[in-house]
Subunit: 151 residues, 4 copies
C-alpha cells in the first residue's frame, strides 16, 4: 500500500524528478524507499534501486522483492478507481523473465484493465531500462464498508 | 533462497524446536528471520512471525511479505530435488484468501508436484493455525551450468 | 457449468459406477461427456476419456481441453457452497506438468479452500491414474442477484 | 496448436479478409474453426465467433472455450520464435473480466515478451470489439529433440 502521507520531490541522484514517499514504519518502509512519477498522460510509474539487501543467495534480486513492488504498484495503479475506498489483493500471478541485478533501477508500469463494482483487474511489468524482468497480473477486491476482505 | 550456512536450534519462545537460519545480509535477512522445521516424514515447514515492519498501510501483512515467504518456501521445498544445483523461480501465482495480522505465526507448507529435467513444479499454502491466508503454485527452472536463467 | 438436469448411472465400460450428465447443447456437451462420482466423504471427481477429438496437433491432449475440465470442475467443487446461487470464474491459473495421451481417463479432484461472501477460492489437479497432468487454482465470484459478473 | 496445413482466405461474412485454417480432426477442429489475420506490423490475431455450442449453462461463453483460444493463440504468437521446433504450454494464467455472449466475434491479440533458450513467455487478451473479456499470461517450453515436455 502507499498511504504514506509525506512525499517529497527528489532533486538529485538516480531518482531526480521522482517523488519519494517518506518511508513509514511498515513493509514498504522496510523494503523501500519507493519512488513515484507520473507522465503527461497520468500514467504512474513506481521504482526502487536494487541494493545488496534486496538480493537472494544467488546474488540476484529476490523474487519476493520484485513481487513486493508488483503488489504495491498494482494498488497504486488502482488508486484512481477506488474513490477513496480501500482494496485488498486477492490474486497475483507473475512470470520472472530475466533476473534483476545489484544497482538496477527497477521500474513498474501497468494499467487497470477493468474496474468493476467489487473487483479491480490490472496488469503490469517490471523493467530495468529495456530489460523486462517480470510481468504480472492481479485482482483487487474493494473493501466492504465493514473493512473485511471477503467476509 | 536459503543458502544461509549458519543454523541454530531455537530453545525458547514462539519458535522453540524450530531451526533459525542466521540472517544473511540479503532480502531474507531483511524480511526474516525465517524458521524451519521438518516433520517425521521429512516435510519441511518455513515460518516467521508478523511484526509491525511486515504490515501494509491497512494494518495487515503486506502481500509482498507473504509472497516473499511463498517464493522462499518453494525454493526450500525444491532443494531435495536440485541435487546441489541452483534454480530460479520462473512463475508464481497466489490467491490471498484471508489477511495476515500482527503477531500471527505464519507457516508455509507445500510440496513439489513434479521435478523434471529442466522445470520443477510446486505448490503450497500459508496458514496461521487453521486459518488459510494464501495458496500458491510456482515453477522453478534449474540453472544451466553456465548459471543463466534462460539464456 | 454443470446444470445439466438429466443424469444417469453408467453400468459398464470405463466409467461403470460413475454418473454421466446427459450432454446438453452447450460447450460441455461439445467437449464431454463428463462423468461424476462422489466418494464416501462427499468429495466429487469429474472425468472424461481423451479421444482423438481432444488432441492438439502434437498428438497430446489440447491444453484448452484440460482447462475446460479444470474450469468445469472448479464450478462443480463450489456447488455445495453456492446455496443455489450462480457463480462465474474470475481467475484460473494452471501448470501443465505432463501431457495427456489418447485414451487416458483424466480425473479432476480438488477442494474449495475458502468460500467467502463474494468470492470462492479453490484448487485441484487433473490426473491419469497416478500421473499428474495439471494443477490449477481458481477464484469464482458469486453472481449478484441481478446476474451480473462484476457490474 | 495450429499446425493445420490447409488454409484459405475467407471472402465474405463475419471473417471476410481473414484466413481460415481448414479444421483438422482434433480439438481445434472441434471447438473452432479459428480465423487468423496479420496486420502490417506482422502482429497476428486469432478469432472465432461464439455459437450456442460454445456457451455454458449460464448462457455465456464457457471459460474453457475462452481458455482454448488463449492457449491456441499463445502458441500462434510463439511460432516465429520456435524456429520450426515444437513447444508445449507449461503454464497459463487467466483473468475473466467480462462475459462473452452468443454471436460475439472474439479476437485474441498478444505478444511474446521473452523467447529464451528453453522457455518462451507471452501474454495477451481476448476482446469482443472494445470489450475486454479475458487477459492471460503463459509460458511455453521448447520441446527437446526427443519430443518430451520436460523429460
Amino acid at each position: 500500500m502507499a498511504d504514506e502521507s509525506k512525499r517529497q520531490l527528489v532533486s538529485e541522484g538516480d531518482f531526480a524528478g521522482w517523488v519519494m514517499a517518506e518511508p513509514a514504519e511498515n513493509f514498504n518502509g522496510l523494503v523501500g524507499p519507493y519512488y513515484y512519477r507520473q507522465d503527461a498522460a497520468g500514467k504512474v510509474e513506481v521504482a526502487f534501486k536494487a541494493e545488496k539487501r534486496h538480493l537472494n543467495g544467488g546474488g540476484t534480486v529476490h523474487g519476493g522483492c520484485l513481487l513486493t513492488l508488483a503488489d504495491t504498484s498494482l494498488f497504486i495503479f488502482a488508486l484512481p478507481h477506488l474513490d477513496g475506498g480501500g482494496a485488498v489483493t486477492v490474486q497475483l500471478d507473475s512470470q520472472f523473465q530475466q533476473p534483476g541485478r545489484l544497482d538496477d533501477i527497477i521500474i513498474a508500469t501497468g494499467e487497470i484493465t477493468r474496474a468493476g463494482k467489487t473487483l479491480v483487474f490490472g496488469r503490469g511489468e517490471l523493467k530495468c531500462k529495456d530489460r523486462l524482468l517480470m510481468s504480472f497480473t492481479g485482482i483487487l477486491a474493494r473493501k466492504s464498508p465493514q473493512g473485511s476482505r471477503d467476509g
